[in-house]
């Protein structure tokens, strides 16, 4: 269910392993070198404290920020005469608007002169179940049917369909652009090299930064919402498709060429079919990413469940927000399971008995007829068009009970847990966050840059060190150095927490199937539940603080770290574990001496993913007291005068993302290399 999970994990390492057997001397004593560098840093910090820190007041802007505002204003003023607007953006908008309105008129909103959409609830449920069954299997079909009916029982049928319509439109456009681009990037190294930083940018630039300008280009309406969504959702499809094409065994391609296939035939008859399963995974990731944008797109009037979440937030109505959030989680689970079942269909089909194969067309035919009948009924009869309301009966919506239960849990927690949470917050802030933040924010900028470059070199390689230097130079250029350091401190602390939790829970899940089965759905929910839903209880429990933002980030990022560690532990070969067992190893020794070291690559990967996920929560953190870059970005969205500063802050976040990603990837490449030796 991870948004970036597969996108990032399947990306080939950015750089070849740098450390060769005859590598530099320090390579042998990495730990000591890192400790030494940090010791020197602390001394320099004590000596030069609070000098050359490049601070910029929260309310202040720099010339660069104002210049960006001017550029925005001139685009805004010239939009009626600019040919780019008249002939390009307008055309794109018209096409996307038409597509979205068509899907919406089909399932969500009154259209085509009817007071209701073409398909009523019964028709939608039938079509969804039929498609899930035909392309997936019976189990996911039942799940899909149950969940869709549940939307109606929650009292959120229309909103859920609005969200589904917008998500489908965004996913369709994403795939239309993404799969061809992905194939191209899979075939050409040069295209891949050009695309990678662009995709990094699309995935780490906070949406808040480009949300307001989007409505300038594509107006307020479906087009802007779809484009905002696809900027974030298309990259996984591109990356994973490229990866799928690249991982087709060269021998297969050579055989095809040797048999005289044209490049076109090789692509369509060999590469695409072989990579099919990976490509479906990419589609799955794109859908998940699109769903994670539901709440943010609601800020520019995208209809659907996101509106319920935002409206409930205005009155601090956590229960109602949770009810809508739950619909989003359920929709994500259905779409995830159905697409996963689709990708497994080929294998399943291969295992079918001849009888089953012969039977299938009849079954499909019967199903299609039943579906058509339901579609007709929902087109014609009001009861099957509009989901029945409980009005006039003694029953209520299940959604009201869900909201009530969520409120009860929240009230209980806020009344009984605040002493613990406040103490926890105070201790963690004083002992972990503050020291790291002081070190980063109060040291002169050149000391921090030097330390970062040296550490990148030691942990990663030369290339990572160069990347770090460039990224930090850009950060200085944005004029937001001090805010960036504050944010970096929080990101680092959150990542350490994420990895700790990842190891603790991941090892448990990796060693116990039962634990895995029980915990995994919770992880899925934590990843897809819009963070806006739990912001208010968190603020109540921890106050509006930097630590609150860290907790929110950990809730979002720990699931991916846990899953990766669990997979890593499970993949440690059974024979190794048995050998260790027969040698009389205790459980703790087994974990520490055998399973964790063997799963080292998974650990580094979990750290990398944890970082990226934490970083994507920086802006949300800005909404609950983290200040710094997250706050700057939100201010840029909310206030016209801070637009330039918000954009600069977004750029600084991207730079942090690229830097941390490349350093951890280089580290993982190195450990991989070390293992191979």
């Amino acid at each position: 269910m991870a948004v970036l999970e597969a996108a990032k994990t399947t990306r080939p390492p950015a750089a070849p392993p740098a450390a060769t057997p005859t590598g530099p001397v320090w390579a042998a004593h990495r730990g000591a070198v890192v400790a030494g560098v940090i010791a020197v840093w602390v001394v320099l910090w004590a000596l030069l404290r609070n000098r050359f820190t490049l601070t910029l007041d929260t309310a202040s802007t720099t010339d660069l920020h104002l210049r960006i505002n001017d550029v925005r204003d001139s685009i805004d003023a010239g939009r009626n005469s600019n040919p780019l607007f008249l002939y390009v953006f307008n055309e794109i908008r018209l096409v996307i608007d038409a597509l979205t309105n068509a899907i919406s008129g089909l399932i969500a909103q009154p259209a085509f002169g009817r007071p209701v959409p073409l398909l009523g609830w019964l028709g939608v449920v039938a079509v969804v179940m039929f498609v899930a069954w035909a392309l997936g299997n019976g189990r996911v079909s039942l799940l899909a049917g149950a969940v869709f009916v549940f939307f109606g029982l929650q009292g959120l049928w229309t909103q859920a369909m609005d969200t589904l319509a917008l998500t489908l439109a965004a996913v369709l456009v994403s795939l239309l652009i993404g799969i061809p681009l992905g194939v191209w990037a899979g075939l050409s190294d040069r295209v891949n090299r050009v695309l990678t930083p662009v995709l990094d940018f699309m995935q780490t630039m906070p949406t808040f930064v480009y949300l307001a300008p989007l409505t300038l280009f594509f107006l307020i309406g479906p087009a802007s919402a779809v484009i905002a969504t696809l900027i974030y959702a298309a990259p996984p499809a591109i990356r994973i498709t490229a990866h799928g094409i690249r991982s087709v065994a060269p021998a297969t391609v050579e055989a095809s060429v040797a048999l005289g296939s044209t490049p076109r035939q090789t692509l369509f008859r060999v590469l695409l079919p072989v990579a099919r399963r990976t490509i479906v995974l990419g589609i799955n990731q794109t859908i998940m990413a699109a769903l994670s944008m539901v709440t943010i797109a609601a800020l520019i009037d995208a209809p659907g469940l996101g509106q319920n979440v935002l409206k409930a937030l205005q009155t601090l109505d956590v229960g109602t927000a949770f009810n809508a959030g739950m619909s989003i989680v359920l929709m994500a689970i259905v779409l995830d399971r159905v697409t996963t079942a689709m990708s497994e269909r080929v294998e399943v089909a291969r295992l079918m008995t001849p009888q089953a194969i012969a039977r299938r067309p009849y079954l499909l035919g019967a199903g299609a007829v039943a579906t058509l009948v339901c579609v007709y009924l929902s087109y014609t009869f009001a009861n099957y068009a509009v989901f029945p309301t409980p009005e006039g009966t003694s029953l209520g919506y299940i959604g009201d009970d869900i909201a009530g239960a969520a409120d009860a849990v929240k009230d209980w927690a806020q009344s009984n847990l605040t002493f613990f949470t406040q103490t926890w917050k105070d201790v963690s802030t004083a002992w972990f966050l503050d020291p790291v933040e002081h070190l980063l924010v109060e040291s002169p900028w050149f000391v921090v840059v030097a330390v970062a470059v040296v550490l990148s070199l030691v942990i990663g390689n030369v290339r990572a060190a160069v990347t770090t230097a460039v990224c930090l130079a850009v950060v200085i250029g944005t004029g937001l150095w001090s805010d960036t350091m504050t944010t970096l401190a929080a990101v680092l602390v959150a990542t350490v927490l994420t990895v700790l939790i990842g190891v603790l829970v991941g090892v448990w899940m990796g060693r116990s199937r039962g634990a895995d089965r029980a915990i995994r759905p919770v992880l899925d929910a934590a990843q897809v539940m819009p963070s806006f839903v739990y912001l208010i209880p968190f603020v109540a429990l921890f106050g509006a603080t930097r630590f609150t933002a860290i907790v929110a980030a950990v809730v979002y990022s720990a699931p991916i770290a846990i899953k990766l560690v669990a997979d890593g532990i499970r993949n440690v070969s059974a024979t190794t574990v048995e050998a260790a067992l027969s040698a009389g190893t205790s459980t703790l020794q087994m974990i520490r001496k055998v399973q964790l070291p063997m799963a080292r690559e998974a650990l580094v990967l979990a750290t990398n993913q944890g970082l990226i996920y934490v970083l994507s929560m920086v802006v949300i953190g800005g909404l609950i007291g983290a200040g710094a870059l997250g706050y700057d970005v939100v201010a840029g969205f909310r206030q016209s005068t801070y637009f330039g500063k918000g954009l600069a802050a977004g750029l600084a976040i991207v730079m942090l993302g690229v830097m941390l990603d490349r350093v951890t990837q280089a580290a993982s490449g190195r450990t991989g290399g070390a293992k191979r030796r």
Binding site: L310, Q314, A358, L363, A382, A544
Partner: protein, 335 residues
């Protein structure tokens, strides 16, 4: 040889499916057809004998706070029921709403808090928007403490005495000083310079959103913990927790001209309405009504309470208020 194609399972499944759909079809026969009875409420009331000029479509920006939602609910309800307009509500942030004047997708902003920069850009420079006059409401920004503190420390309500209590407000975020809470970055604040120029031992902590600010106040009052910060009225939360205003040096015209030396209270904002130039010149009766629409903070608070506390839908809340306040409504339509 030919048994493969016709095992019993297929027939059974097919039969179950057919029976099920047939049952559904039967059940449907009792139900109304689409368009038979649902249209009466969905059909626009346009063309009624009472309306002279056609109103057309009015796009109302809905900015994200409950008071605004209350304004919009009442205005939309009256536009539809009295004038037969088609109302499209667009849930937008303030900045995006103003942009909407330029792109022609927003006709009205019903509660504008200042925004001199946007007025300059869209009214003076681009000339796509016009001021439509006051809403009748006064927006008051200021410093507030939680009620229990005002009761326990009566002199805390004057900014002169705040330093005496600064230690009470210390938190993990305030770096040894008293914590002063700020909210949504969308609202203009001068709290940083104010604190400095008044010589107060406080530090501004940016909660980052209205939700976080309100939650902080609510939790502090519940647990009898100290909290001071920026707040404003009209705001529905004040009816739940009546935060107490802290006196700042009085506002005089121009005292806030230089943000570096400002040392006085916030001005009173006369909240106003903004419309697109297109809508203003359209001759729509909707525009005339929007122009006349004015109500007091108390009126708005009633509707906001219906929505925020009583959990009524904006439509129901508006209908209830309109039914209870016919005289006020009639005044808006008297010509």
């Amino acid at each position: 040889m030919t048994r493969i194609g016709s095992p019993r399972g297929v027939r059974r499944t097919a039969r179950v499916a057919l029976v099920a759909t047939f049952a559904l079809a039967l059940a449907a026969c009792g139900g109304a057809k689409v368009g038979e009875d649902t249209t009466s409420s969905a059909a626009p009331a346009a063309g009624g004998s009472g309306t002279a000029a056609a109103c057309g479509t009015v796009n109302i920006a809905i900015n994200p706070w409950v008071g605004y939602e209350a304004d919009a609910a009442v205005v939309a309800e009256l536009l539809q029921s009295k004038l037969g307009c088609t109302v499209v509500k667009k849930n937008l942030d303030e900045q995006v709403s103003w942009q909407g004047f330029g792109t022609g997708e927003v006709d009205v902003i019903l509660e504008n808090w200042g925004h001199e920069d946007l007025k300059k850009k869209y009214i003076e420079e681009q000339k796509v928007a016009v001021e439509v006059g006051p809403t009748g409401r006064e927006g008051k920004i200021g410093w507030f403490v939680v009620p229990w503190m005002a009761e326990k420390y009566p002199d805390i309500t004057d900014s002169k005495n705040l330093n005496k209590y600064a230690d009470l407000f210390k938190t993990s975020e305030s770096g040894g000083k008293g914590q002063f809470l700020d909210g949504d970055p969308g609202f203009v604040t001068i709290d940083g310079p104010l604190i400095k120029n008044l010589g107060l031992n406080f530090k501004v902590v940016y909660t980052g959103s209205e939700a976080a600010l309100i939650t902080s106040f609510r939790q502090a009052e519940k647990e009898k913990k100290p909290a001071i910060g920026y707040f404003y009225s009209p705001q529905w939360f004040l009816s739940e927790v009546p935060l107490v205003n802290v006196k700042l040096p009085e506002y005089t015209a121009g005292c806030d001209a230089d943000p570096k030396t400002v040392a006085c209270d916030y001005p009173v904002y006369n909240l106003d309405k903004i419309a697109s130039a297109k809508f203003a010149t359209s001759g729509s009766p909707g525009y005339d009504f929007v122009k006349k629409f004015q109500w007091t903070n108390d009126d708005q608070n009633v509707v906001a309470k219906y929505i925020a506390v009583d959990k009524m839908s904006p439509e129901d809340a508006a209908k209830k208020w309109i039914a209870d306040n016919q005289a006020k409504v009639d005044a808006w339509f008297a010509s």
